[in-house]
């Protein structure tokens, strides 16, 4: 028996094999019914013994690997019967979500605790991937009332608590104090964007920097920070589930942003990370997460100032979105693992640990009773982020609850801010896309 594998056959097989190799292979779903959202029924953990070992999947938000290790070491000292394995499950929220979702599909190797960002937790809820924490809150006596109200409320749906805040942030206005001084400007963030528009030409003329202000990188959550502009002008991505990104107010806000780049010429758009551009002296100011604060203070060779986000012509305050990540527990693991995970989750968010995490990263302390005295003595800028928390606003549903909406918003922003695309037409197209996502991917899974 012989096989004649000539060049023709070889190339044919190579073609077929190469195509097939491009395809994914993972566990499949059942086709018996509709996709259920997570069960809101409270889980009873009485009589359950915690598992001896759990995995903690994290992307180390704010370069937090060392502080996470330190808190886990303290946990091991207090709870020697539970071993926590720190797993780097991705470099950012998207990568960790990718790993978590594919593990759900493969139905194996799920963690006990997972870091979930503001735009991902709701998807896990609608897919039935996470449990409500209310049973654990009761069993372990987790002090939910001691968490910052607005932060803990972000994870409440259907009268249940689906995650607890962890590496939580807001955007901050970062400015180069030296540039501001040289331009004769006051040592503070502008109160409104209109005020900054008056400052910007002076800044650009005197600083020698490329830009007076740089918009955050479009791949770095543009939909998050642009809410500040939209809200200041009285617009938004959406009002509840009604997409209104093409409203006159939203269009006006983004037209102003486009003009700041093309007409007035004092602003630019970051290509990778606005905080890095700012620290490198390319721009006199930017908006970036509080999670970037420690990194900026460490790398910048000038005096760094931080302030609240500027308001707009219609709304001057309360135009800052919250963001960042929380901690959740998967539904696809045993009650024993869930209980051990709950024990760890409670420990990670204890006041002294959230203070330690905040000191190491710049993220906000999530507990009201966290003693921040020594942290603020060392890094007083964190106080600005803490004070701004009172002036934050819950993010638009379209950005945090629609799968892929953040990417679509970033693409629309790219068209407006880097290609000088027509703002109204771009926003109209975005509205149609977002409505399509809502109708297809979200609406069928919501309770009527």
């Amino acid at each position: 028996m012989g096989m004649n594998l000539d060049r023709r056959h070889f190339l044919g097989l190579a073609g077929a094999g190469a195509g097939a190799a491009a395809l994914a292979a993972c566990g499949g779903p059942s086709t018996g019914g509709t996709t259920p959202a997570s069960e809101a029924a409270e889980i009873d953990f009485s009589g359950v013994k915690p598992a001896a070992s759990i995995d903690f999947w994290t992307s180390h938000p704010g370069k937090s690997q060392d502080v996470e290790k330190s808190i886990i070491a303290k946990f091991h000292a207090k709870f020697p019967e539970i071993k926590v394995n720190l797993v780097t499950a991705g470099a950012n929220y998207e990568e960790i979500a990718q790993k978590f979702q594919t593990s759900q599909a493969a139905k194996e190797a799920l963690p006990g605790v997972v870091v979930l960002s503001d735009v991902w937790w709701f998807r896990y809820f609608t897919n039935g991937n996470i449990i409500p924490l209310d049973g654990l809150v009761k069993q372990l006596d987790i002090k939910v009332d001691d968490f910052q109200k607005s932060l803990v409320a972000d994870y409440q749906y259907d009268d249940k608590q689906w995650a607890l805040p962890y590496g939580r942030s807001t955007p901050l206005f970062y400015y180069n104090k030296d540039h501001f001084k040289a331009a004769g400007l006051p040592d503070r963030a502008p109160k409104t964007w209109q005020e900054f528009a008056e400052w910007a030409p002076k800044l650009k003329a005197s600083s020698g920097a490329q830009y007076a202000y740089i918009y955050p990188a479009l791949a770095g959550y543009a939909g998050w920070t642009l809410q500040n502009n939209l809200w200041g002008w009285g617009g938004s991505w959406s009002n509840e589930w009604t997409i209104n990104c093409d409203s006159a107010e939203s269009v006006e806000a983004l037209q102003w942003a486009q003009d700041s780049i093309y007409k007035d010429g004092w602003a630019g758009v970051s290509s990778k990370e606005a905080a890095d551009d700012f620290a490198a002296g390319i721009t006199s100011s930017t908006i970036s997460s509080t999670g970037s604060l420690l990194g900026v203070l460490k790398s910048a060779k000038f005096n760094v100032g931080v302030g609240f986000l500027p308001g707009g012509p219609k709304v001057e305050s309360g135009v800052c979105p919250t963001g960042g990540a929380g901690l959740g527990i998967p539904s696809g693991v045993s009650k024993e693992v869930q209980l051990a995970a709950g024990t760890f989750l409670k420990f990670m968010t204890e006041p002294e640990n959230t203070a330690e995490f905040s000191a190491a990263t710049g993220y906000m302390p999530t507990r009201v009773s966290a003693d921040m005295t020594s942290v603020l003595a060392k890094t007083p800028q964190i106080k600005t982020a803490m004070d701004q928390l009172a002036a934050t606003k819950v993010q638009d549903n379209a950005r945090v609850f629609l799968p892929g909406a953040d990417q679509e918003m970033a693409k629309a922003a790219a068209k407006i801010l880097t290609q000088q695309g027509d703002v109204k037409a771009t926003m109209t197209a975005l509205k149609s896309t977002l409505e399509g996502i809502y109708t297809k991917d979200v609406k069928p899974k919501l309770k009527s």
Binding site: M1, G19, A24, A25, S30, T34, N127, P403, Q407, I437
Partner: protein, 316 residues
Amino acid sequence: MTRQLTDRPPAVVEAVPAPRRRPKWSSRTRRDFFVFLALALPNLVLIGVFTYLPLINNIYYSTLDWTLGSASATVVGLDNYVTFFTSADAAKVLGTTAVFTLVTVGGSMVLGLLIALALNSKVRGTTFARSAVFAPYVLSGVGVGLVWLFIFDPGYGVLAWVLRGLGQQSPQWINDPQLSLVMVIIVYVWKNLGYCAVVYLAGLQSLPQDVMEAASLDGANGFRRFLSMSVPLLSPTTFFLLITTMLSSLQAFDLIRIMTPLGNGTSTLIYEAYLQAFGAFNRAGYSASISVVLFAILLIITVLQLRFVERKVHYS
């Protein structure tokens, strides 16, 4: 033989011939077959499990409305294909795929051939030059992508620094969708032209020298010899490169993922399939249908190339 039969007595001729038995395998043939199985079976099993089983699974998933991470799905038949081909994205994705593939294949092959011609000349330093040209091909795509991102960065990249020195502003390579595609194409061609150059160099060095010398004696100059002798004689190499580089371009992923994570302007079929399932949308069924479209395109291209292009190839 016929003559002998007809010469035989009728009784013998009319006798019913014994039924032909299937030849039994000799012990040696059987042994060879088992050796073949022992050697080939592990590979066949691996290919079956890791290549063709996923392919079949993927075709099945393409008929589902399935959100990645969800335990259940709904059978929707060909709806995912209809959605893809009737969406505005289809033309954009297919167009991007076509531009990326044609330019990277054409660029790698043409530049690879030119470099091979230069490396084929007998001057000092060709060994070093050959290594330098081939090195990017064996480097990690992720590392290459990260380094080139720094080079292209409009804020503090080397390219921006050079342009500023010339009094020019750097283009928005990363944010502008059209320039993003140009940027990724440049890096992809740079990374892969070494492969084409080395394969072409091997082809050039195996050309029959007597024929080339005869052409030279007949008065053909270098360019004429290249056009009329080298290019036709290199056609098997060109054909091989055409198929392998085209398949590889259609599956290019690492550079696109690292340099343009949003796929804004650079979303080829394979990257769109990734984005739809794993990027943000979690539409696993829809993504599977895009993968099947890619598979069909790869298959059609390969068959067409084998049927029509190979006819024009001179193997000797």
